[in-house]
Amino acid sequence: MEQAIEKTDRGVPVKLSKPRRLIGDRGDHFLKRVEGETGADISACYQCERCTNACPVSAYMDVNPHQVIRYVQLGWREELLRSTTIWVCLSCEMCTTYCPNDVDVAKTINHLRNMAFHSSVVPAEKVLAVFHETFVNELQRFGRVNEFWLMGSLNRHPDVLKEKIKSGALKEELALGWEMFRKGKLKILPHRCSEMKKIREICRK
């Protein structure tokens, strides 16, 4: 039984710190927690896979949306927080819209992303994880998000910079950035909002 669970449906091996029992370690604790925090009726899912079929990016996920719901029911927190799914999700809300049982799948994935962000688990998509963090930092700096400053801070992050130089994306991005600047699409001087103190307080909540 244990061997079967070591791999997800797509054959992606999941490295676990310890062998996993079928039901999560603490009963339905995780299910109740996620249900309580999101307000989504996750127990109502009957695995019809309509969310996965509607999802435009399910082919790029290691844990499909319907499996995310199942994993939450089973309490498999670690697999979920390690998955690429929570970072690849576009929040396009197809899954939520088409669910026959009104399970808010997108909100659940969103919440798991939030959990992963606050946990010690290493994110599967590093650049996307850093992007989310940078976005919030930029928001706290000026109150509005300026694309030029956002991309600047993102590319200054050592992990992102390393990855982008390795894949050659940096050169491409600089060329695109120059093209955008030439077309007048970049606002170099950001606007600073008043009441920044209250905004920072919200971001710290």
Partner: protein, 279 residues
Amino acid sequence: MNLAFYPGCSLEGMANDYERSITAVFDKLDVKLVEIDDWTCCGATAAHSMSEAMAVLLPAKNLAAAEKMGLDIVSPCANCFNRLTYSRKMILKNIYEVPWKVTGKAKVYDMTRFLAQPDMIQQIKQKVLRPLAGLNLVSYYGCQMVRPPKITGFTDYENPQTLDKIANALGAISLDWSYKATCCGAAIGIGRRDIQFDLSKRLIKKAHQAGAEAIIVSCPLCQNNLDMVQNEKGGLKIPVFYFTELMRLAFEGEKCSIQNFRMHLTDPLPLLRKKGLAD
């Protein structure tokens, strides 16, 4: 009639042509847009996945400012519209303690839906100086504007009509296609360009197959994304317009300068010249 205008961060930066076209269009209509003073970011697309509190409280400042003005809000950006509507719904439920004085009485309109109301369509028809005859369009709504229907209030979320109605009122031909509300993947472009390119290129291809010569959108992210993925040698080229750009073109007629389209990465001028809409 006055409306509070919430532009959103993109309209200051990479979509400032959208903002200029909106200003020009609303100058001609009997609606006055009053920009919300000192507005802040609504938190799309990253902040709301970081914490629920940010999702509700960040847009609340703008809702509070609009309430102070006593006006309803109109938002041109699909993401902002979605976040503002969501925040308003949660404020009405009274779960969070909001640091600003806000009751949630100011309604939030999406700009296309506001302009697609029967009386506004009537007004648009009257203002058209140069009909966009013979221009075959597909309208692309994207994901955040129509979904989830419980938040946005779109009942026709599988086949939304607001942009089509506006395009038809301008004299253009809006074609049917199945990808009106399929996500273009703009949000993921930062980390996974492969996914972004796959999703957007499929949209471009399908628009071409539907017989479209141009795509009209109302979301700044969608426009930039769909425009950008065509920015390489070879391949299909379909100009992507903001719907207000075409409204401006129809309203201003001969006077509409081709400079208004200079920010497009996929040059729309050959198409407009072919249709006799630009000189």
